[in-house]
Assembly symmetry: C2
Homo-oligomer: 299 residues x 2
């Protein structure tokens, strides 16, 4: 998938909602700026609960909501809870009332397009949308860190793990957690943060607390070291992207908190950082005299 296909797929989602569809395509085409990323039908966390916004510009923190006259159903099935969910604190939401006339709707869209252009200009740290780079581990390795505000998702666990010094092959397969190869007592974890087979996991609305409950007694004793208070986890939550693909979204670094250790089947983790350091992988590190992966795997 390239940038063109990504954009086309984003613009084609509202197939049965013809007015929403008109507004979304109009905003995109009149904005006419391929440096600005768009996401449609993005689930968001808001003070009053979760909701779907119709269009989202992640670099600008601006959402568009189309009001179709009747209230949208905001059913939160388990399926929806798997969907990629972002927190909108501080985001702006612009609304379009599509019960108005063609002329009025066009005029509202003109205003929104102008607002988006101004927002881009005002953002001193605006980075043009680089579709290839944003899912490439090398982007973050060369940057030296992954930060929550950069809205980072990888297509595979391998891509995420390789940001921290691992050099897994693309077809590597493992469970949902791997040791951090460069930092002691730290893991890279890929949880499903919703109820799933054998687990009842959840993340708080502000995303600062993760609660993991094991429902399958046979799995309770796995990885006992992961339950030690103070053990740190770099978390990439398994989510459905807005296009339906599975993605691993960076959520920050979390630490196992002590008061939950007593319960055999439960862990509580608290977010301690929204930015984590990245490392060259082995292939690069050979020339840079970084300890080889084998050393780390023996730990």
């Amino acid at each position: 998938m390239d940038k063109l296909e990504f954009i086309c797929r984003q613009l084609s989602k509202a197939e049965n909602k013809i007015f929403e569809h008109y507004v979304i395509t109009r905003i995109w085409h009149l904005l006419n700026d391929t440096d600005i990323k768009l996401i449609t039908q993005q689930y968001v966390v808001r003070p009053e609960g979760r909701a779907l916004t119709d269009m989202y510009f992640p670099q600008l923190n601006i959402h568009i909501e189309i009001d179709e006259g009747h209230h949208k159903k905001q059913v939160l099935s388990d399926k929806i809870r798997e969907a990629d969910i972002i927190n909108v604190t501080g985001h702006e939401v612009l609304r379009v009332d599509v019960t108005k006339s063609l002329e009025v709707i066009n005029s509202i869209v003109d205003n929104i397009v102008n607002k988006l252009k101004v927002a881009k200009k005002m953002k001193s740290d605006f980075k043009p949308w680089d579709f290839e780079a944003e899912q490439n581990p090398l982007t973050y390795i060369s940057r030296g860190y992954i930060d929550l505000k950069d809205d980072v998702s990888f297509k595979t666990m391998v891509d995420a793990a390789n940001c921290f010094g691992h050099s897994y092959k693309p077809n590597a397969i493992w469970k949902g957690v791997v040791k951090h190869p460069r930092e002691d007592g730290k893991y890279i974890w890929f949880p499903k943060l919703y109820k799933n087979e054998g687990w009842d996991n959840s993340i708080s609305n502000d995303e600062n607390i993760i609660t993991e409950v094991c429902l399958d007694k046979s799995k309770e004793s796995t990885y006992p070291e992961l339950k030690i208070s103070g053990t740190k986890h770099i978390v990439f939550a398994r989510v459905k992207s807005s296009l339906g693909d599975t993605m691993y979204r960076f959520k920050g670094e979390y630490e196992v908190v002590s008061d939950a250790i007593k319960e055999r089947n439960k862990r509580v983790l608290k977010r301690v950082s929204t930015r984590v350091k990245t490392y060259n992988n082995v292939i690069l590190s050979d020339t840079l005299a970084v300890p080889s992966l084998k050393t780390w795997n023996k730990k």
Copy 2:
């Protein structure tokens, strides 16, 4: 349905063809001119046969075709033959190759939008798209004629018949033909120009010849006067509009030709005019001293 809904429905048709869809919405929004009518997925008659064009601007006689890399299937099932079909003689067809990159496609669309704007400027008799008026009989009654090049379709047979002096109520029901209330030996005819229950009808590619074959012996002797050589028919073909509604499209005035009279179950009609005179209906004619409808019905 208003203009907004018509446009939205037109733009929502290519739901599974995401690249076609991107180009169509981009052309429409960047053209940004609600005086220009658009129709998507319009069947057209071309020298080499019938085909579907992806976007059509009837006022400008310009079609857009999206090339998706593989050849489109041009299956002409009976269902497709019911669809509204226009003749593109003298029309221009502009093509967009969506196998190109985002930047190239955007640049091609910019060129097309410029061409459309120039085409509108160059057209000295350009009439702004008036959605309400174009399906209203009063528009044509006050104009004094219906012309093939105005691309006229009515939602009901009643609307079409009332352009010629009839004053049927909206819920009037009759067979597919009515006498012309103001001109002798002339009928207003609403044929299905494709094979249908009891009939095997067709229209030539240039739309100048209509052939009607009755497959049901019990219907052969109906309306014998309609078979008299020289009998004239103002034809509104029953078609599916691009949105799937049944419409009655003006095709011109046709005359029964003599050489087909001998065959009991067959009629051949030749187009003799692409423009027909319209008449006030009774309500208006009372004040204009036009003969009342009763006089005509007695004929």
